[in-house]
Symmetry: C2
């Protein structure tokens, strides 16, 4: 059971620590929070995002939600759009040098990022800047000065680098700059706290070294777990296609949530929603029961996420539709129904339906000759659904005729019609 | 025996190869020279100098003389004053990170360097530039682009780096940039050839990699031995004090040459003079004889160097004086001689010379009271020289009197008078 927080500090600490992997150094972190409450001076909480893909997905949102929690506690959020770090490319967790993106592409992505941040954060309480603001002004001497703050050995201690060195996988010299740049961002915005995924731990700690080298008190850091994608195996990422975009429409978002493995349900509640801590405990409890059917919780998760990123109520709608289409094996509700009366009206012989005619008269094809060529290419399906059997095969005979069916029968043309 | 060169190519190659350790890749080097002669288009021959100390010494001059040889063959010399590389500090052959020099100090040194270059090179046929010209204009993105041209492993292959890594001696990240900067200099001036000491081999080869990365044909390189200093052990360097500055006055220069160990005589002829190849062979021959007294050759070396850096004839003068002062244990010839007649003329009692009076009357001291205080401080010496004994002790008695001496006697006040 959760203990009820006794003080404002305890209350804040409970929110901050939710879902966190590391709070480092914890004593400094606590001291900064204490001081902030005492002086009534908000903490400056930083996170950087490299706009390397056009969409923010739930994986990115894990950090943004943590920032939202800090924001709701009254602290100052500073978002850094890493237009210049994106040029270098974060080597964290990479097993090979990333291609450098074009600056135009990065700026285009940065634009869409900024819009997406404020689906979660309160714009009026957020500072947002691009690290090009300071890096583009840095000259050779300043960059060399920055480089003096780290030794080669210390940079190469990073897990991904040391593994690459050991395996003889080339590390380009520019990659070593990534943690220094991210660290310098903390200097530029005078960060008190920086948050990031666990794979960012080295970069976040680098910020401490560099802030000290520039005469600033070092930030404390908070790391969050890496969100596993829909496949249940790999980190959620755009390039792997295993992601839920925060701008996905309600139906897609709900459907994708329903496709995650059961074992991820709790983590998704913890990391991607704002479900109350008590409810979280309860969900954990339920999932640990041997006779649980997790689908109800999974639907609750889908509904919650759709409501968060769309409008209240959109979650229920998406759920209802999902249940019709997938759970009850019914079909999307934008199918046009053809009654026998209507068929006759259209001039069809209801007792002996000639497929090309049917397609042309109902408007599913532009003409009966288009219908014939689509049938020849195998694009026309007849789907018969009963409680027990499902017939779903392409028709190949251009002269196919059939009597008015006794069960609901669906005719599909291609994937769309 | 030397073979007489048959063609202009052979003639030039013989001069170029003199004293060189590496000519790499030799086939490319030869092809560049062939092409240059064929097109009557001079080679662009580069050397960089970091103005880390105010004086150029004979160690630096090894390279400059090689440039002079290229210049005399009709090629174009491009000198790079490494004001920006000096900021980073060449880690070549260093066992620890060098302190970064202040830019003002570097610029002050650069000034004196430029003057000293043209004691050897023909100014009108030399291009001279500072690498700050291009590095100060480079922005963050260009610097990161430069960094992409090398991998960490490749930079760390450098002997000095790999030894430091192995021994756990810190290498600061900025040091890795040194070879990249030197390499980029070759891009900036479109070098055909770069010359440097053997310890520069890695940096010179880096130039090839970087020129290719920037779409230029790679330079060929020429390395020269490192000149050992007066101590016969270590690389000649200002900081070790084992150097002969090219602006040293004739007497100092000659004296320093006479202090080198015999085994360096040939190397100095080879690397620091323009003595003809036939004469070089001859010197080598003589030094290999078991009954040789190398002092004559050493004096020839001293005379040659003084003539090179001062005026023709200054070498002979320096030699003559050296022979008087050191070889014949005589004294410098700017000593004022006091005859007995002159002593009487000055009002001195020649049979009972009272030291303070003597010093005051001869003008060696301003007054007899100054003379007394100098005697008390132990600054006045009486030196009696005979064939067999040498008396050289400070006088401490302010009332010291002595009869007119029977041998030549020298009175010294401090170090100067």
């Amino acid at each position: 059971m959760l203990s009820k927080p006794h003080t404002e500090f305890d209350r804040q600490w409970q929110v901050i620590a939710r879902g966190a992997v590391d709070l480092l150094p914890e004593d400094e972190f606590r001291a900064k929070l204490q001081q902030s409450l005492k002086d009534n001076k908000p903490l400056r909480v930083k996170q950087g995002f490299d706009p390397t893909s056009p969409d923010i997905h739930l994986g990115h949102a894990v950090g943004i939600r943590k920032l939202k929690q800090f924001q709701d506690l009254g602290h100052k959020i500073v978002l850094i759009v890493g237009d210049y770090t994106a040029l270098v490319g974060d080597p964290s967790g990479q097993s090979a040098t990333r291609p450098m993106l074009s600056y135009d592409k990065i700026m285009e992505n940065a634009e869409t990022y900024q819009k997406q941040f404020f689906r979660i954060l309160d714009r009026s309480k957020t500072e947002i800047c691009s690290n090009g603001d300071w890096f583009k002004k840095m000259d050779f001497r300043e960059i060399m000065h920055l480089a003096t703050t780290f030794t080669v050995a210390r940079v190469l201690e990073r897990d991904d680098f040391s593994i690459r060195m050991k395996n003889g996988v080339p590390i380009s010299l520019h990659e070593l700059f990534y943690p220094l740049m991210q660290g310098y961002d903390s200097v530029a915005i005078r960060a008190d706290i920086e948050i990031g995924a666990t794979e960012q731990k080295f970069n976040l700690l680098a910020g401490r070294v560099i802030q000290q080298a520039y005469g600033q008190p070092p930030q404390a850091i908070l790391t969050l777990p890496i969100l596993v994608g829909l496949d249940g195996e790999k980190k959620m990422s755009k390039s792997l296609g295993n992601y839920i975009g925060i701008t996905d429409d309600p139906r897609d978002m709900f459907g994708k949530v329903m496709s995650i493995p059961d074992r991820l349900i709790y983590d998704y509640f913890l990391l991607t929603t704002e479900v109350a801590l008590e409810r979280l405990e309860d969900i954990k409890q339920q999932l640990s029961q041997p006779d649980i059917n997790p689908m109800l919780l999974q639907k609750e998760l889908g509904e919650t996420l759709v409501d968060m990123y769309h409008h209240a109520g959109d979650g229920t709608t998406a759920r209802d539709e999902f249940e019709r289409v997938f759970s009850q094996k019914k079909l999307p509700d934008d199918i046009e129904e053809l009654t026998k009366d209507r068929a006759v009206q259209l001039g069809l012989n209801a007792d002996k339906l000639f497929l090309p005619n049917l397609l042309a008269k109902t408007g599913m094809c532009a003409s009966s000759s288009e219908a014939r060529s689509l049938i020849q290419s195998g694009s026309v399906y007849i789907v018969a659904e009963t409680q027990h059997i499902s017939f779903d095969e392409p028709v190949k005979d251009v002269k196919f005729e059939f009597p008015w069916p006794s069960v609901t029968t669906i005719i599909k043309v291609g994937k769309r019609r």
